[in-house]
Point group: C2
Chain length 404, copies 2
């Protein structure tokens, strides 16, 4: 059975006219003799509206009821899509997570899909039906509605693709695919035709908003090809697949940048074993994510400088925690908000020597100072002044031949 999973995001079903368009897209897949499973998000704006209501009811609104409340968003979208498919002559119906059921584990507001009962859906597919399944939700073993924390409806789509052994999962969204870099920051950005899971994971982690890292990781583990494409424009999107499916690698596939980072430097820290841990442990406990870290070797063996980056949103909390921690001795605390992280990503760099040098040289030619460096097998990130971000993006995009 050739199954394809189609997932529609909130903007794709954001109005009645868009839902009509979406029904056409689904119908076209069905006509191509695929067995089609559809997953939908809530119409854009609906979820925010529901969250707002819950906050007005209570600043500490029940997690259980939050899930009951929010799950109505997808239910509405799915009934409208199914209703439209009926209208244009297709057999289709909404399937709510309790009707299938989709079983989750974990806490309310932050569950994970554990099991999907395939029986009813398989039967329905064999009858020629198109099931429209509510994304972002499931039920737990107490038969209460749960919502999926990270990944949302994307995670639902990937898990459906996994359980039904779909060859492909198409993520319909409001962008045409994944770009070499953010087109709003660099007009020369190009749509990527094909990208490996690993590169996409880095891109997503570094701020490409197309998909949540957790869903890409699930797809990678289950070898599900993902195509990200626009629901508004009928053009090929970006295929996310395993490395061995990709030929003609460029050295660098994409460039990410984030501007909501801040740099924290502790100057003159007493250098003793475990000092970094004693600084980072309370931050971790408070859900503050420390990103890049650099520690200078101390010349005299007694003092060191420690620099790290965090999200700017966490800056106040971070400084409070550090100042409150009397076990950390340091001479000065330096904070810098106007920094940006720029990252080049590509599996090609593994086999290509000198990529790091080319990156640094390119920035040096533009007189851009590098403040912190962090690397992985397929990624090099540097921290620079925020004011240089556009110049850096343009130079690197050109250097690594992404302009065309």
């Amino acid at each position: 059975m050739k199954i394809v999973v189609l997932k529609f995001g909130g903007t794709s079903v954001g109005s009645i006219d868009k839902i009509k368009k979406v029904a056409q897209i689904i119908g076209n897949h069905k006509k191509k003799k695929f067995k089609v499973i559809v997953v939908s998000s809530a119409m854009s704006g609906v979820t925010n509206e529901l969250v707002k209501k819950s906050r007005e009811i209570s600043g500490n609104f029940s997690n259980e009821e939050y899930d009951v409340l929010l799950s109505t968003g997808e239910q509405i979208a799915c009934s409208l899509i199914a209703g439209r498919l009926n209208h244009i002559g297709f057999k289709s119906r909404s399937w709510l997570s309790w009707q299938i059921p989709i079983i989750t584990t974990g806490l309310h507001k932050n569950s994970r899909i554990n099991k999907i009962n395939k029986k009813k859906i398989i039967r329905y597919l064999n009858e020629g039906g198109i099931p429209i399944i509510t994304g972002f939700q499931g039920i737990n073993k107490e038969e209460r509605i749960t919502t999926i924390g990270r990944g949302g409806s994307d995670a639902s789509a990937i898990m459906l693709a996994k359980f039904f052994k779909a060859k492909k999962c198409i993520i319909y969204t409001d962008v045409e695919g994944v770009y070499t870099t953010d087109p709003r920051k660099l007009t020369k950005a190009k749509k990527i035709k094909v990208i490996s899971y690993e590169e996409m994971l880095e891109m997503a982690s570094l701020g490409a908003k197309v998909m949540q890292p957790v869903s890409i990781q699930d797809a990678r583990l289950n070898r599900i090809d993902i195509e990200v494409k626009s629901s508004f424009i009928n053009k090929p999107g970006t295929l996310i697949t395993k490395r061995s499916n990709i030929f003609n690698h460029k050295i660098i596939t994409g460039i990410s940048s984030t501007q909501n980072d801040s740099k924290v430097s502790l100057i003159g820290v007493r250098d003793k074993p475990g000092i970094a841990a004693s600084i980072f442990k309370p931050l971790s406990k408070n859900s503050i994510n420390v990103d890049m870290v650099v520690q200078n070797i101390s010349a005299n063996g007694k003092e060191t400088d420690l620099t790290f980056t965090i999200k700017t949103d966490d800056l106040n909390k971070t400084t409070k925690i550090i100042r409150a921690n009397k076990s950390i001795k340091f001479r000065k605390l330096l904070l810098k908000k106007d920094v940006a992280k720029i990252s080049i990503i590509g599996v090609g760099m593994v086999a290509t020597p000198g990529v790091t040098f080319r990156m640094f040289q390119t920035l040096a030619n533009e007189k851009i100072n590098i403040q912190v460096i962090s690397t992985s097998e397929i990624k090099i990130s540097v921290l620079i002044d925020k004011k240089n971000i556009k110049k850096a993006l343009a130079a690197l995009h050109k250097e690594f031949k992404l302009d065309n």
Copy 2:
């Protein structure tokens, strides 16, 4: 176990502030050591908004998906009520119809509650919880969401009261109770303290919008006391109960009037057996409800005049059907839109001679001509010119001592 069922209508939960108020009301019942079962409608406006969406998707929207769509309205309201009760310190949760389950029979959009599984709710009540149950809906034996055609959430509340053997069902709404007549038409209208099921049935059938006749009938058959009261003002409402619970009957309990009736007269109909049936059968087939009927005795045994009333909305359809029916011979078709039906209702009239005479005399004194008459055991209705409606109401209200 002393159970009370509280039902909140759409206007009672029409805003976040109103839901907070409703949670207080529920909490107060709980504090009085009652086991409280709550049923809620959708927040006012929400259902209409959803219906509008379905119509924009298709002029012939799927009945199955319509029920899936509309059921979200009550789900939202129930989660917010439960969340608010949690906030103010009560153990409470939403119960969706599939979680209980509430089983319905009949067609989509027009189902009836057949069975309510009590086990989980009883256990939850015994744990001290307040279940907030979605009104207006259930699931059928195929496990699809259904909605209740007539009676809506009132019907859900009455059926819950029946299955859980509740002593009382309180219908919270936006009016203070049932009035002797519509206060918008007669400022002297008084709230009725207690009224029998039978009288309330007549009042409801004749246009009092407080409750649907079908729900009153269900309450009557199951001997469930209903109190209709305001969720905004803390005052006793109207008790609807069996006749034997009522002392000090007035002769007349209430006066109803409707203004959306039209009168149709067929003049010079060939008088033969079955003529009335041949006129009314096609109307009935087209769901046109014929209300009052009067047929003059023909003097010559050959011709008769037939007059009946229908809703004005059905007037065009009715005349088309009559003109299209070639088997009916008549000389003239007279239509009159500006008529109104005024009805006096009271179980007291059974034991009191001369009520009909007093009604006719009162209208005659006001020089109001009676066009059609229709009576039942506890009701007398007359058709009059619409322009006389206020005058007639005031005179009858006074005559039957309802002014005080």
